[in-house]
């Protein structure tokens, strides 16, 4: 965790909600402290979107993931043994569990797309267990995207916007939507790429999860969803929601799971206004997390350890503490 964060890639602060574009009713909470990026956590009084502002320019986002992401998050940096790195992260085990939720609903020969496939664990498992599937994916980190693919034949594309309309039957996005600069535009593209009756599965961290530190908020996660805002977002993109709520897998407690269907007639619309109760609950949730001397000392200790030992060793310690099972959700 560097003392100061490279800021040149940040976009203009438009003052607009990242989800619905509203300018009025934006509550400003605190400034992000994980990377000291200067970004501020905000909540929209219209759609209840919670987001960091300002976001990144397109170029800034590319450079962030190419140059800074893994340095900022030591848990993402292998240390000596890659086998142990993935074992402790639990990528394959989590991928198997996700596939068990999804696979029964995929017809033979389904064209399945993973948005932001990370190290490729899900695609690898999908190919192993369902060789009939046609797999496609996008992943900006081209250096690591094949690491856990195994023998999977995956057609990688630059992004959702490069896909033909109505060319997919299934689309999954595990811990991706919170990273993108325009979540609604992403879901619009997802809806466009899916055929009628095509299915969408999304997994994101739950704003109402049990996070207790402001370090939960960092520049890689530009949006923070609750059930209501995630549902609202998918509906605005035209999806019919089949389910949306706490993750059904106990090992992925603290996350949200959305399953939706693309209807025959796609009707995109603005995000609807959320209820006052939802907005109040969000405000209360965020305000519960303060920043005390203890937090500052922990952050300082981590920075010092990173300097002295390097991100690899610190990451190894973090993975050991949170090693799977019961560990953090992975791609």
């Amino acid at each position: 965790m560097p003392d100061t964060f490279w800021q040149r890639g940040l976009a203009n602060d438009s003052g607009q909600c990242r989800l619905c574009g509203a300018t009025l009713g934006q509550r400003h909470f605190w400034t992000e402290v994980y990377a000291n990026s200067g970004q501020q956590l905000r909540r929209c009084g219209h759609c209840a979107g919670v987001y960091l502002a300002p976001g990144f320019t397109d170029q800034g986002l590319d450079e962030f993931y190419a140059e800074h992401y893994r340095q900022l998050f030591p848990a993402e940096v292998p240390w000596f043994s890659k086998e142990r790195f993935f074992s402790w992260r639990g990528d394959r085990a989590v991928a198997q569990q996700r596939l068990q939720l999804i696979a029964p609903q995929l017809a033979p020969g389904t064209r399945l797309f993973e948005l932001g496939s990370g190290f490729g664990a899900f695609l690898g498992e999908a190919a192993a267990q369902r060789p009939d599937l046609q797999l496609l994916a996008s992943e900006p980190d081209v250096t690591h995207c094949s690491t856990l693919l195994g023998r999977a034949q995956v057609h990688f594309v630059a992004g959702l916007d490069t896909l033909e309309p109505a060319s997919l039957e299934g689309l999954v996005a595990f811990h991706t939507l919170e990273h993108v600069t325009a979540p609604l535009a992403t879901l619009d593209l997802a809806a466009r790429a899916l055929r009628p009756d095509g299915q969408l599965w999304i997994e994101v961290p739950d704003l109402f999860g049990d996070w207790t530190s402001r370090l939960f908020v960092h520049p890689a996660h530009l949006s923070y969803f609750c059930q209501e805002s995630l549902r609202n977002l998918a509906q605005a993109a035209g999806f019919e929601i089949l389910s949306c709520g706490p993750h059904p897998l106990p090992s992925l407690h603290g996350n949200l799971w959305l399953h939706a269907r693309r209807p025959a007639a796609l009707l995109q619309r603005p995000l609807h206004a959320e209820t006052e109760q939802t907005i109040e609950a969000i405000d209360n949730r965020i305000m519960r997390v303060d920043w005390r001397l203890r937090d500052s000392l922990k952050a300082l200790a981590k920075r010092t350890a990173m300097r002295l030992l390097g991100p690899g060793a610190v990451g190894e310690w973090q993975r050991w503490r949170h090693r799977h099972p019961g560990g953090e959700p992975q791609k």
């Binding site: 203009n12 602060d13 438009s14 003052g15 607009q16 619905c20 200067g38 219209h46 759609c47």
Partner: protein, 614 residues
């Protein structure tokens, strides 16, 4: 130059026209020559409104909103595209047929042919909204620098775009709450333009240099159409190149179908503009027809009065008949001051803008509609000796270049205390913050509540104050000083129905200046050395070699205590106490040592609050 509004409502169909007409009426002073309204015949409900100040092709055929006969696209536009004739030639070659001699029609055809690539081709100042019939998108955009204003207010169901905040408030039926972050920044630094936020919560300035789209289904998208170059990306300016670019910028801005005058303070920038405009005058619609100088009625302000110098300049140029001097009492009445406050719409950093406000009114009364001014020269070419020279010394000290620092100090171009003022920002925040709170008048006046809630913003303020000279000039030009000047200048000129054109704002000139080392632009013994070099051969030494020490309205900013503030600080809303400690402000204004002080910022906030929330 005009006023515009565009409204898109996503909720159930509603008749927006009555509210839009009300809002347009509040922009009448920006566009006294006509009013137009266009309702889009597609969902969602969308209305474009326009008040016109007719400059190019004053016939009604060039009125707005203007509709493209080929596509059905509609456009409302505030500003001027100076190179519209050359763009029109290109568009004619592409098959476009024009029925007006206006820049508006060029924009409309340009959008059809070039799409978003249109804006990078334009040389000018603009804020515009296009309803794109094919996509249904509402497209909006400002020029590269944000010379022309455009504000956005969006509550999730209705998006309002307007040239001024007053029109948004008129449409909505009131002003949103004050923005505590902007107020804090303004009271500490005197700047409020570092972000797009305004003094009103939820009303944002549309960012310059970007194309925004708001789709039929409420999707927002933004794309930059312009990037300011970094050093090394272009050739730096030479005096010759600077002169050539500036001459072309003046010539482009001289063309109008209405009378054109210049503001002539008697200083370097306005003399250069007037000189180049006189040289370029060669046709009835390309001719400078007046030069206006602001002066004081009272002899006590003779030190700030440059009218004699301006008179001598106009005589030397052979055009004394074009020169007009307008004289005013330096101290405004309470009514005049409150009119200025209301017209500005947001707190402003100096009462010296009173001079422009008065001069533009006089110019308009004499039948002029376009004025050439020297805005931006000081920011672009380093005109503020007291601001930039201490930074040069601090930079030399930081680099350990003691001899250079001593040499720069030896020029005695700024008081020693100013260097200390700059060096203080090198101290830890824990020391800077209490010092500011104790010593800076505008910070002393911040209420305890606002201070407690926003003092975390000091970190960003500190980082900004630590910029070196190179960064400072770039930031002044693009993020702080110039945007502040542009906001104030737009309101004061447009309130009189005057289109202010600033040749120093020509983007070609700015691009080259931004890649020219700051030290070359500023110089050591005076300011704006590059500019002085460029015009030394053709302007009198009394203009080129005189240090900058005066300017439009210089007296007013030193007369803070004599402003009619006492009756205006009576009966203020109690909620102002959440922002300003009014009792403390009154006490300090009574202090006989309060003349030129940051206390104006606190007074400006109090008067603004009175005008908009009382």
């Amino acid at each position: 130059m005009c006023g515009l509004i565009a409204v898109r409502a996503f909720s159930a169909a509603q008749n927006l026209e009555p509210s839009v007409r009300r809002a347009l009426a509040s922009l009448a002073r920006r566009g006294p020559d006509g009013e137009g309204l266009a309702t889009v015949e597609q969902a969602p409900a969308t209305v474009l409104g326009h008040r016109r100040l007719a400059i190019y092709d004053t016939r009604s055929v060039a009125a707005q909103p203007m509709r493209c006969p080929h596509t059905g696209n509609s456009l409302v536009f505030n500003g001027a595209i100076y190179n519209f004739r050359s763009l029109r030639d290109e568009l004619r070659a592409a098959g476009c047929v024009f029925v007006t001699d206006s820049d508006t029609e060029v924009l409309l055809h340009g959008w059809r042919i070039w799409g978003e690539a249109l804006f990078a081709r334009c040389n000018g100042m603009w804020a515009l909204v296009i309803w794109d019939a094919a996509s249904g998108d509402l497209v909006f955009c400002r020029d590269r620098l944000g010379v022309k204003p455009l504000y956005l207010c969006h509550d999730g169901q209705t998006a309002i775009l307007a040239s001024e905040i007053s029109a948004i408030a008129e449409f909505r039926g009131g002003y949103p709450a004050p923005n505590p972050e902007t107020l804090f920044d303004f009271l500490v630094t005197s700047y409020s333009e570092q972000s797009q936020a305004t003094f009103f919560q939820g009303i944002q300035a549309v960012a310059p240099g970007q194309v925004y789209r708001l789709s039929r289904s409420g999707r927002s998208r933004t794309r930059a159409y312009h990037h300011w170059p970094q050093p090394g990306e272009l050739e730096p300016l030479t005096p010759e190149a600077l002169r050539e670019l500036l001459a072309d910028a003046v010539s482009l801005r001289l063309r109008a179908d209405v009378p054109v005058a210049s503001l002539l303070s008697g200083g370097l920038d306005s003399s250069i503009i007037t000189h180049l405009a006189l040289q370029a005058s060669d046709a009835p619609q390309h001719r400078l027809q007046g030069a206006f100088t602001y002066a004081y009625q009272e002899s006590e302000h003779a030190a700030f009065d440059e009218s004699a110098k301006a008179t001598a300049f106009m005589h030397a140029s052979g055009n004394p008949d074009l020169h007009r001097i307008v004289r005013f009492a330096a101290i405004p009445s309470a009514d005049e001051l409150m009119h200025l406050v209301g017209m500005q719409g947001e707190p402003f950093a100096t009462p010296s803008i009173l001079a422009g406000f008065r001069t533009y009114r006089t110019i308009a009364e004499q039948g002029f509609k376009v004025v050439l001014g020297g805005e931006g020269a000081d920011e672009l070419l380093g005109g503020y000796t007291l601001r930039y020279h201490p930074l040069a010394v601090r930079g030399a000290l930081h680099r350990g270049q003691w001899r250079q620092a001593a040499r720069l100090m030896g020029h005695q171009t700024f008081p020693r205390t100013l260097l200390l003022n700059r060096m203080i920002w090198d101290m830890p925040l824990a020391m800077i913050t209490p010092l500011l709170r104790r010593l800076r008048p505008s910070v002393q006046a911040i209420s305890g509540d606002l201070w407690a809630a926003q003092r975390h913003r000091m970190e960003a303020i500190r980082d900004n104050a630590r910029m070196d000279l190179e960064q400072r000039l770039r930031d002044d030009q693009l993020n702080s000083l110039l945007p502040r000047v542009l906001r104030m200048a737009d309101r004061t000129s447009m309130d009189a129905g005057i289109e202010l054109r600033s040749p120093f704002m020509d983007y070609r000139l700015i691009e080259r200046a931004l890649v020219t080392p700051a030290a070359e632009r500023v110089g050591e013994q005076r300011s704006k050395m590059l500019l002085r070099s460029a015009f030394r051969a053709e302007l009198p030494a009394s203009v080129v070699d005189t240090p900058k020490n005066t300017g439009f309205g210089h007296a007013e900013q030193f007369l803070l205590r004599r402003l009619p503030w006492e009756p205006l600080l009576e009966d203020l809303p109690a909620e102002l106490g959440n922002v300003i400690d009014v009792a403390s402000l009154r006490r300090r204004l009574r202090d006989p040592h309060t003349e030129h002080s940051t206390l104006w910022q606190a007074l400006a906030v109090a008067l603004w609050y009175r005008r908009f929330y009382a």
